[in-house]
């Protein structure tokens, strides 16, 4: 198991549940046992959850795994079926689960400037939390989900917050233009400035950042900057190994790679989606939770399985006290209609359709109705 976060842990659990009784080694580049990342931008950042609350393993759980933590995998030698580690060790393996995740993209030129953060790991969140408690002016670069959640948390902590988004509408990729506009209106509802359609030219400051410079010439004063401009799959260590890479590890619809005995799961894995007939790298928590079981079944059966279609991708976000939930694929929808509640009330359910058939559902503060739709959408897809 290369990767010790949710996808790696889920794969380890699945191996044991499916009766694998042999040696199990979990390699992780972070020094921590598996922890839950979604609260890092919300409750953990706000200080209402502590580190112990983030642990993903149960107290009574024993996976009989050897944890090799704080050391990065640097290569995979397929002829010797060996994983090379940064400390020079090599690990022989009969089967390999690649679950190395993704890393936050950074802003070129921001290295070494104090007050500039990304948010991906526990260590990132600790550092950001420490600085947020001092208050001041925060500029969030990127109006995606991480950026919006950090903005929301910082607003609740009393900071003066500005969000800068290069696209004309934030969240237009995952939610489409119409709903992206509605969801990102939550910022204005709370007096958080949202600047759209303008790129970031750079940061100013000598040792510590003091402003974000925009491409239109404006300068936004900042005591603190969070860069939330997406993540890239951590697959450099596989370059030249023979495992096919294409926006992460290229996989079939059951997690298999082009190499027998090697599967990939989680944020680094670009699975084929039979529903959209294309590869799609899903970075959702629920994907890292559910898909490893399919991949492990594939691994244990030496590829001789016929997996069911995975559930449509589901994710959630909490911003300004509003629960946002989304399932399915907005790309390709030709209509989106509010079917319950009202967008202005920030409590509604919207259904995306393609040629009359539902393909995605968005809920704001509608968990009950949303879950019914999610169930329905999954049944239709199966």
């Amino acid at each position: 198991m290369v990767g010790a976060s949710l996808a790696g842990l889920s794969a380890a659990r699945s191996l044991r549940q499916r009766g694998y009784d042999g040696r199990l080694v979990v390699i992780g580049d972070e020094p921590h046992r598996p922890y839950d990342r979604p609260p890092l931008s919300k409750e953990f950042l706000a200080g209402t959850l502590g580190e112990a609350d983030l642990a993903l393993e149960r107290d009574d759980e024993d996976l009989r795994a050897e944890w090799v933590l704080g050391v990065r995998a640097t290569g995979l030698d397929l002829t010797g079926r060996t994983i090379r580690l940064a400390d020079g060790r090599g690990m022989r393996a009969d089967g390999v689960v690649i679950a190395t995740g993704a890393a936050a993209r950074t802003l070129p030129g921001s290295e070494g400037l104090a007050g500039v953060h990304v948010l991906r790991t526990l260590d990132d969140a600790r550092a950001l939390r420490e600085e947020l408690t001092r208050g001041g002016r925060l500029v969030v670069i990127g109006g995606g989900f991480i950026g919006a959640e950090v903005a929301s948390t910082a607003y609740a902590l009393g900071l003066d917050v500005t969000v800068v988004e290069a696209a004309p509408t934030p969240l237009a990729g995952p939610l489409g233009e119409t709903m992206g506009r509605i969801v990102s209106a939550l910022h204005a509802d709370h007096g958080v400035r949202l600047l759209c359609g303008v790129g970031v030219k750079g940061l100013s400051g000598e040792h510590r950042v003091d402003a974000v410079l925009l491409e239109d010439g404006r300068s936004v004063p900042a005591d603190l900057v969070v860069v939330g401009v997406g993540a890239r799959p951590c697959v450099e260590w596989l370059e030249g190994s023979g495992v096919t890479l294409d926006n992460g590890v290229k996989c079939g619809s059951d997690g298999r790679t082009n190499v027998a005995g090697v599967v990939a799961v989680g944020d680094c894995a670009n699975w084929y989606d039979p529903r959209t007939k294309g590869h799609r790298r899903v970075e959702h928590w629920t994907g890292a939770l559910e898909r490893p079981d399919t991949a492990v079944a594939t691994l244990l059966a030496y590829g001789a399985t016929q997996p069911g279609a995975p559930r449509p991708p589901y994710f959630w976000s909490d911003q300004y006290g509003v629960k946002i939930q989304f399932v399915g694929h907005a790309v390709g929808a030709d209509s989106v209609t509010v079917e319950e509640g009202a967008a202005d009330d920030r409590s509604f359910l919207a259904v995306y359709r393609r040629a009359g058939s539902p393909v995605a559902v968005l809920g704001m503060n509608q968990p009950r109705l949303f879950t019914r739709w999610r169930k329905q959408l999954s049944a239709a897809a199966a």
């Binding site: 979604p38 409750e43 209402t48 609350d53 642990a55 107290d59 959630w316 629960k323 009950r368």
Partner: protein, 119 residues
């Protein structure tokens, strides 16, 4: 025993939430079995009655934690602690719940609120 609802008013695949504190929900499975568990997910404040009922398992409507209705055990994270189970009795077409005397496993935010601290 607390009266919950009439059995005819709780179709298979549905759940009924009792407004006790903390709330308890009765689930009627597709196979016709009745189970009562604490309604609040042990991970965060969410109503399991709003969740996804499949077989003898309910999935939290927010973060997809799964609980076994028969035992209250966690079948899928992020929840780590089980929910309490309660005895269900049906008499004369009426569903009753006999509440567990164990201490509930409430999520940190709800536990803090009940204790009078900040939510």
């Amino acid at each position: 025993m607390i009266p919950a609802c009439r059995l005819v008013d709780l179709p298979r695949g549905e759940a009924h939430r009792l407004p006790v504190d903390p709330p308890v929900s009765v689930f009627h499975t597709d196979d016709g079995e009745l189970f009562a568990i604490d309604d609040t997910c042990t991970h965060q404040d969410a109503s399991l009655a709003d969740g996804w009922l499949e077989g003898c398992e309910v999935e939290c409507p927010l973060h997809a934690s799964k609980f076994d209705l028969r035992t209250g055990a966690v079948d899928a994270p992020p929840a780590k602690l089980p929910v309490r189970t309660h005895e269900v009795v049906v008499e004369d077409g009426m569903v009753y719940v006999r509440l567990s005397t164990e201490a509930p496993n409430l999520p940190p935010c709800v536990a803090a609120r009940l204790a009078g601290g900040p939510a």
